[in-house]
Structures are given as C-alpha cells and as structure tokens.
Amino acid sequence: MKTFRFVLSLSISLALGIALNTKIGSIPPLGKFLSPFHGFWQNAENNKIDIESISIDENLKDSVNVYFDELLIPHVFANNEQDLFFTQGYITAYHRLWQMEFQLYSAAGRLAEILGPKIGNTSIIDVDRQMRRIGLMYGAQKSEELFKKEEPEVYALIEAYTAGVNTYIEDISYADLPIEYKLLNYEPEPWTPLKCFLLISNMNNMLSRDERDLEHTNALKKWGREVFDILYPERPDIVDPVIPIGTAFNFDPIVVEKPDVKFPIEFTDPFISKPNPDNGSNSFVVNGNKTANGRVILANEPDLGLNLPSIWYIMQLHAPSINTMGATLPGGPGVIIGFNDSIAWGNTNAKRDLVDWYYIQFKDENREEYLYNGNWVPTKKVIEEIKASGSFSYYDTIIYTHHGPVVYDRNFTSSKSEITNLAMKWTAHEGSKEIKALYLGNKAQNYEEFVEAFSYFSGPPQNYSFASVSGDIAIWVNGKFPVKWEEQGKFLMDGSNIDHEWKAYVPYSHNLHVKNPSQNFVSSANQHPADTLYPYYQYDYYYEHYRGRRINDRLRVLDNIGVDDIMNLQHDNFNYNAFEALPMMLDSLDSASFTDLEWSYYNKLRNWDYFNNPDLQAPSIYEEWWKKLNSKLWDEIDSSEVRVYRPNWYTTVNILKTNPDFFMIDNQQTTIKESAGDLFRLTFKESISSLEEYLTTEGNSIQWYEYKNTTIRHLLRINAFSKGNVKIGGNRSIVNAASSSHGPSWRMVVELGDGEVNAWGVYPGSQTGNPGNPMYGHMINDWASGEYYKLLFKKSFAPSDDEVVHNITLKSDQ
C-alpha cells in the first residue's frame, strides 16, 4: 500500500514535471514558461537597459567602453579593431540575439528545426527545401573559403565579431533569453563566421534573386513575340536613369556577340517563392551649389519588409583607425549604411537579371552525368538532412552542375512543367568579398578610397551614393555583372550548349558611375541604370518607374536646399502613377448617369492633388479602383494555366492609353467586347460598392492610412508583438514608400561640410528587440509623422555626459 502510494505520487510528479517541461503543439512548456524566476515574467523589463560591465578572459586585448544614448544607440570605443568588432558582436547579441539567429536559420533552410515540420497547411520542410535548393549556404561557404585564403586580416575581424556573440551566448541564463526562444522552446547555438557570410547570401536572396525568366518563356510560347513585347517592354519611352543621360563612357567594352541560338521554348512551373518586388530604396545627394549653406547633403532609405525586431541596428564604432556610425545588420560586422568623419554613403538596390535558368539533360536515371558541349560531364550530389522538431528528419538530394544547383528536378517539380531539371546560375553562388568592401568603406576618407573599397562589392549589386566633407558627390553602380548578349538569360536557356553561358564579367572600372555631375545632384531609386549609350546590355524585368522620376523632378527645381527640404522629399507622397492614370480614368466616366453616391466619390477624386497623405480618402478610392481595374484587365494572366505575370504599372497605363484594342482589355467572362472605357466605368462602380462594403464591415473610415493599414510585423507574425494601423502616408512606387508591409526601414540624412558631419536618422522600431522592454517599438510614431533624431556622433564620451543614459566596460583579463 505504501509502496503503491509512493509510486503513484512519484509517477504523477514526474509526469507533471515532464509535461510542464515540454512544448505541446504551440503551447510552450508551462512550468518553464510560467516560472516567475525563469519564464516570460523575466522578459518584463522595467528599466530600458540593464546590460552590465563584465570581465572577458580571452578574445579581448584591451578594455572597451560602451556608452548608450537616449535612443539606446551604443557608442563603442575600443583601442583596436579586434576589440571593436568583438564588442559589436557582444552588444548586438544583447539587443537582438533571437532575430540574428532566426533569420539565418531561415536562410540556411533550418526553420523546421525550430518550428517543426508543419504550421497549419504550410509545410516548413518545403520552405526549408527551397532555401537549400537555391543554394544560399553554398555561396556563403565559398565566400568563407575565399576569405580564409585571401583575406586573413578581415577574416580575423569576423572571428572577433563571432567571439563577441558567443561570449554573450555562453554567459546568458535561460531567464535572460529573448521571449521568442521561450515561446518556441529552443536555445541559441554557437555563432560561427559562416553565419556572417550567410547574412550576405540572405541579402542577395532578398535583393538580387528576383527574375521572371521562366515566366517569360511561358508567355512567349503562349502568346508569341508580338504580345510578349507589348506586355514586357525592356525600356519605356521616358527613362530618367541612375546615371544622368548624356554621361560619357570612355572605355573599350568587352563585346559578346549574340550567337545563333535557339531557346528551349517549353512550359515550366517556377513555383519557388519570389523576393518581394517592393524591396527597393531611395537615395539622393545634393552638392554645395544647391544647398543653402554650401554643404553637401546625402539622404538614403532602404525600403524593405517592415518588421520587429527591426532589420537595422544603429551603432557608432570607434577605434584609433576607425570612427563610423550608422545602420548595421544584426549578424554581420561593420556599418552597412552610414558615415564617418570624412564621408557618407547610402545605397539602393541596383537591379539586373543575375539569375539564369539552364535546362539540364541527364544521361540516365542515375543522374550521374549531364550533357554539356557534346560530352557527358559528371554531376555532384549532395544529400541535405532537414531536421524537424518533434519529427523525423527529411533527406533531400540536390544535384550540382557547373552552372549551379539543379533546383527543379524530379523530386521538386510540378505537373504543369513539360520539362524538368532546371539548373540555377546566380552570381550569389560565387565566393565574394562584400564584408571587406564594407570594412574598407567604413574607414574610407575620400572619393578614391571609397571607390577602392567598394570595388570588392559583388552583390547584391547596389547603387552606392557618396558625399564627402570636402564637397564631392558621386554615385557608383557596384556589383559583379555578367557581360550578356541581348536577351541572354531573359528566357530559359540550354544547359548543354556552351554558347548559352556567361563568358565574362564587366570589369569594375566599366561599372556605371558619375562624380560631381553638372546637375549638382545624384540619385537612385531602382530605376534603369543608364541610357542606351552604355555599351553593356542592361536588363531587369522590373525597373521601378515612378520614385526615381519624382525625386529627380523635385531635385531639378529645388534650390537653397536645407536639411528640412531633404527630409520632406523623403516623405514625399506624390502618387506619380495616379497622376498619369487617373485623368484618363475619370474622363471616361459618364457623369450624366451618376447617382449621388457616385458623385461624391467622383468629386473626391477630381479634387485630389495626387498626394497620398494619411488622412485623405481619395488615395483609398484610387487604390481600390486601380486594383479592381488591374484584376479585370489582366484576368487572362491571373487565370493562366501556366505561370505568367502582370505587366508593371507603367506599362499598364501605357497600354490603356496607346493600345485600346489590345486583346486582353476584353473581359473574358462577358460576350461583348469591352474597351478600356468600359473597364474604367465597370470597375469604378465595383470599387464604390466594395469600399461601401468595407465601411459597413471592417473599417470606420476610408482615410488612407486606415485603409492601407501599414503594419510593423513581428518576424513570427505574432500580433501582440506587432504594431498595426501606423499613421503614415505614401505607398509602393511613391517616394515615401510605406505600403502595408513594406517601406522605409531606416531613414538617414547626413550633412557634410566645413569640417563637420551632422546626421539624423529614424526607423520604425527600437534598438531593443524585447517586446517586454518599455522602449520596444518607441520610434514608430515619430518615423510615421516625419520626425528625425539627431544622431550623436562625437569623438569621445564620458560616463557623466548628459546624453549618456547607461554605460558599461568590457574589461580585458589578459
């Protein structure tokens, strides 16, 4: 009896202990999670910062001081670069450990290790397989090998950063882990230098992977050449490129002749998810001739996914050989977008088709050899193990050719494909030296050193804008670009044919650039890089066609510019697309037959000045109308059996204006043949009913910001950790590019001259990544309303300074 009682109560205790220590479904282990000494309660912080001084046994040569200002921006003062980057890793981990690790689990195709094999209907295993197959890790490994061999000094700094992160991870207790670890029930693993390279691969994935080669092949086969050229013209009638029209190119280009080749015209189904086409940026620089005080001003904002914890982390890094400040990426050393005592730099994505697809013919089922240039060439097989939390591992064999990984093969294909075995060629698969470029760029003192530094930058290619205290302005299109013949890689190519391959890369000195142009400004906004006089083939399926023109329109007329004017331009809400499309749409309406309701909508649009300001209603009406119009217009494309894609907005407007008989304008679901005017009238009525419906069901008003609902979303899409309904104007393809989930992820304005550097910045988030910290997300409202913070950029700090809210010392025990 006694034994029974004991065994029973012990069993209950053990079962309870194990149950409370185990994650069940999406419920975290309740004992661990609720314990007020360990669980989520410990993430409820009352002070905005609590990091403490520590002693470091190894890896630190000298003591390092870190001063936190009111925004919790750390100002790191070290006596040498090793210690500086060690401390960058340590401090970044303090504020952002979960995010820096999680984003690279995603890039490495290891999410199932954390999230399990499935969430709802989404197979996390498939998400991971996709990441493995596009080879982000493959590229990162090559970069690491390259650095070990050729750049030991920079590699040592990456190791110092790694050691800093790991020192933080080793010292952290479960109670201090970020809340996300506790919710998902896992713990951080050691950081490695490879993860820093994977971070660059991840940027490539966001910014240089986008293309539509296979969709183009489908469209060509489906509709023929004439329709294809109407839908997807390479260059519209008006282009205001990154490099001003008329810039001379004084070099002998490498010439590749277009060979006499045939593309394999076969339907395929490119189902891998694409990078978000809203990823883009604006940057502009004006020189002293245009400013009120004769100094130069540089502005930049990368428009990326609006997430919490924020993609950027602001820091000042100071050592005797370096003093730089700006936006860092958690997970990598150095400053990505910023300034130092002599120069400032910013960047925007320099799009060009850098991914090409090759059709591979294997010799037999074993797939050990493939046809290339008349020979059978051996393949390389790699078996990827995808571990899954709470489940068994999944194994996926990926075959590599000299082109790259065979992403689509018999194990990863769709029934809509007529052929499979498509290898992916991508510049990001090659080893590259971006981290060195950034390191040298952080220290560059003048134009020459800036040019030298970013000559090491392969990708994702960026339009690097430049300004110096001495008054120079410049822009360089930096990156590794293959030399292509016309239309090379715009369609699926034949992997067995040597003529289809890339033969050379554009030499760095041939990359587009301009220094101190006569227009007194430079700018970039992901538009076409240059006019047709540039002797290299420049092609991307989507060059943005509105933001760049608006910025240049404004900069041409602005004079006596002050910092405020530049900030206002960053917040410019002019809807260029509406300006070009709406008058045509309104003119087609038949106002004689309007109801009262239709009159009121009509008048709101007629009286609108095309600015997407947050409290107006007209932008919401236009947006709804434009969406409905596109759905009706491109129904042939949306309902196509094979994957194709809608033409961009500019082309859409152009077709409606100049090609009213184009066959797709006709709505397939009706028997009469519609004209563009019919579409406008029909969709105007539909938009009104859908907005009225919205008012009665979801929203209280159709004010633009409420209707748009810009949301800064937590990376795990946890609503309680996100902030929705942010009161900001703008939209995609507007300079103030805040759409519902995308937008200006870091706004920076730097004024340089008279020996001074003054900088302002703001971003939609906070330095702390902890949702339980009182400062979590504190900059979001200021970011939305157009406020900036003056960035503290001093050569020295003292703990007693008024601006310092907290300071720590990392003491060296060596």
């Binding site: 004991f6 007020p36 000494f37 309680a720």
Partner: protein, 123 residues
C-alpha cells in the same frame, strides 16, 4: 503548526534557490523538505502546494505590478487569455501543483522507511 513551518521552509528555499537553478528546482526542494520531516500525505501536499504556489504567484504578481501589467497583457493576448491577472493565478496554480505533488512524493517516499517491519529471515 508543522504545516506552516514546512510551508515557510519550502517557500523560502524556493525563493532563494530558484534564480540560480532550473525551474523544477522548486519540485526538488518540496520533495526533499517533505522527505526530511515527518508528516501526513495531505499535510505535505498542502505545504508544497502553498509553499511553491504562493511564492510563484507572489513573485509573478510583484513583477506584474512593477511592469504595470504591460507585458503580461501582451503575453495574455498571445495565449488567448482575456485578463492578464489570470496569468498570475495560472503561475501560482502550476507552481502549486508541481510543488504539491513533489511534496507528496517526498513524504510517501519517507514513509517507505520510517516504520520498517523487522522481519526475521525465517518468519
């Protein structure tokens, strides 16, 4: 009276040791305390339940008051709980159950040894 002493000992040790140990240290403490002092099963369970439960609830409540329920409100939303104060009670309940059953195990374990029946080898 013994109940209160035992309850206080369990509570105090839980409060002092937990920050430096894993969360189930509270269970180990409750087990050991009840193993080392004689008591009935019910008495031990109540001591463990209240000893650990009240300390967990009190500590959580203290954190929550200082934080003005900001973060517990956020977590309550994630866990689909209407009122953050329920999280404080849930914390106490979970701690209490863990402590109570551990105490019961401790005392029943003790009872296996305290009245060993001496048996002759030949009986």
């Amino acid at each position: 009276m013994k109940l209160i002493v035992r309850l206080i000992v369990i509570g105090a040790l839980t409060y002092l040791i937990s920050p430096f140990a894993t969360w189930w240290a509270a269970m180990a403490i409750a087990f050991i305390v009840c193993y080392t002092s004689p008591s009935s099963g019910l008495n031990a369970f109540v001591a463990g339940f209240l000893g650990v439960g009240l300390v967990w609830m009190g500590h959580a409540w203290n954190i929550d008051v200082q934080n003005e329920s900001v973060f517990s409100g956020t977590v309550a939303e994630i866990m689909q709980i209407s009122d953050p104060i329920l999280l404080v009670f849930a914390t106490g309940l979970i701690g209490g159950l863990a402590g109570g059953f551990a105490s019961l195990s401790g005392t029943t374990f003790r009872q296996l040894f305290i009245k060993p029946k001496k048996r002759s080898l030949y009986s």
